[in-house]
């Protein structure tokens, strides 16, 4: 259908433009870097704000992220990753490094995070719903609420297995095996295997 082709083509064109800007940035081209910044900073600022709700901290994280992008752009391989997921990964990783280094990372035990019921999503689950794309959101919803909480604590809060086990006062092996099972389930869901 023609109406389906249009957004796909727009996405392809956007992806091609970002790939080009990122590759040229990797060769030290400042004007390409500025183009990249103009096209992606709103999205990446959104990422920083997820990890640092304090606006000024998010701004510093964003600055740090773009300097890291400038330094690492040469390692971007267009055949491997989409430019936007590469940029999000670099931004998220730098922000999590900052969060961990600041000692401000804190993890909420599941008991304090509100009642988890499949039929009544928590307020923060609804917030996630607004930002996660339908597929990821649908698949996360399909997980046990506790497992979804662990995965989000790791990705957006920088929690490791050890810290999760500590916060939950649960044996490390127990936490590991349930998150591993959840990851297998999540992947199967996203790959359309279930």
């Amino acid at each position: 259908m023609a109406s389906d082709d249009i957004p796909t083509n727009l996405n392809d064109a956007r992806r091609a433009r970002l790939t080009e800007a990122l590759l040229r940035t990797g060769k030290g081209d400042r004007s390409a870097f500025e183009t990249l910044y103009r096209a992606t900073s709103a999205k990446l600022f959104g990422v920083c704000l997820r990890i640092f709700p304090e606006r000024h901290e998010a701004e510093e994280a964003l600055q740090d992220a773009y300097l890291t992008i400038w330094n690492r752009a040469a390692s971007f391989q267009p055949g491997r990753a989409s430019p936007i997921s590469w940029l999000v990964a670099v931004t998220r990783n730098r922000a999590i490094d900052r969060l961990r280094a600041s000692g401000k990372a804190k993890f909420t035990p599941i008991e304090d995070a509100g009642e988890i019921a499949d039929t009544a999503p928590r307020a923060d689950a609804q917030m996630f719903a607004a930002s996660e794309d339908d597929q990821l959101h649908g698949c996360i919803q399909g997980l046990d609420g506790r497992d979804a909480h662990f995965i989000r604590s790791a990705f957006l809060g920088g929690a490791t297995y050890l810290q999760l086990a500590d916060t939950e006062r649960a044996p490390l092996a127990t936490i590991k095996s349930r998150i591993r099972r959840a990851l297998i389930k999540l992947r199967a869901c996203m790959e359309g295997e279930v």
Binding site: K27, E34, K43, V47
Partner: protein, 228 residues
């Protein structure tokens, strides 16, 4: 490409989420570089999880770009978007002419020939525009590299020295002074790269050196290592 086991697939997810301890994380990181199937699964997990990190798009305040732009290394006249590799190669050729001029300077440095010790390695580092000139002299016996800046200006930044051996990959040898000779103790793992045919190069970098060990500035001087 190998077929990944379920454990490997989960490991790639754990790595992207950052759940592992430092040692496991480092091991997985190393595997990304050597195992293409594992690397592809890591990329797939990044794609799967990317939208979890995305909040609502929010316009960043204007001063952020000003700060980012101001933090980039200042580049004069070389910011043409040329490939870094071509820059390395071009300057190596350009430095030949400078070497001819600096050869004189290399000779006048105190040097007592000793039949029992191998000849030292030397390099004359120069720039295309002739503005930078540095002599380098390497003693293979004790791994000491003496750098003498004849003319060197990195503005508000600091000069970092790199060795580029045959594989073309630049490795940092540390920082040097702009206005006086610097004696660099080349670390044991770097000594294998200090050989005739390699290229020494200098880039302007922030205080303390290039973040992440990758040069951020343009090459402002370079020269081939030769046997004196």
């Amino acid at each position: 490409m190998s077929i990944l086991s379920e454990d490997d697939i989960v490991l790639a997810g754990e790595y992207v989420l950052g759940l592992l301890d430092a040692a496991e994380q480092a091991t997985a990181h190393a595997r990304v570089a050597t195992d293409s199937a594992f690397a592809a699964e890591v990329d797939a997990w990044r794609e799967r999880l990317a939208s979890m990190a995305s909040g609502a798009d929010t316009a960043a305040p204007d001063h952020i770009w000003t700060k980012i732009d101001g933090a980039l290394p200042r580049i004069t006249g070389q910011d043409t978007g040329r490939g870094k590799l071509r820059l390395w190669q071009g300057l190596a050729v350009a430095s030949m002419a400078v070497a001819a001029y600096l050869g004189v300077l290399l000779w006048v440095q105190p040097f007592v020939p000793n039949i029992d010790t191998p000849s030292p390695l030397v390099a004359a580092l120069g720039s295309e525009n002739g503005k930078a000139a540095i002599t380098a002299r390497y003693d293979m016996q004790n791994g000491e590299l003496l750098l003498t800046p004849v003319s060197l200006d990195t503005g508000q930044l600091y000069p970092e020295l790199w060795i580029v051996p045959a594989d073309g990959k630049a490795r940092s040898l540390g920082m040097m002074a702009v206005d006086k000779p610097t004696l660099v103790a080349v670390t044991p793992e770097m000594r294998e790269f200090m050989a005739a045919g390699g290229t020494l190069a200098i880039t302007p970098e922030p205080e303390g050196g290039a973040p992440g060990g990758t040069a951020t500035g343009p090459i402002i001087a370079s020269g081939k290592i030769t046997v004196l």
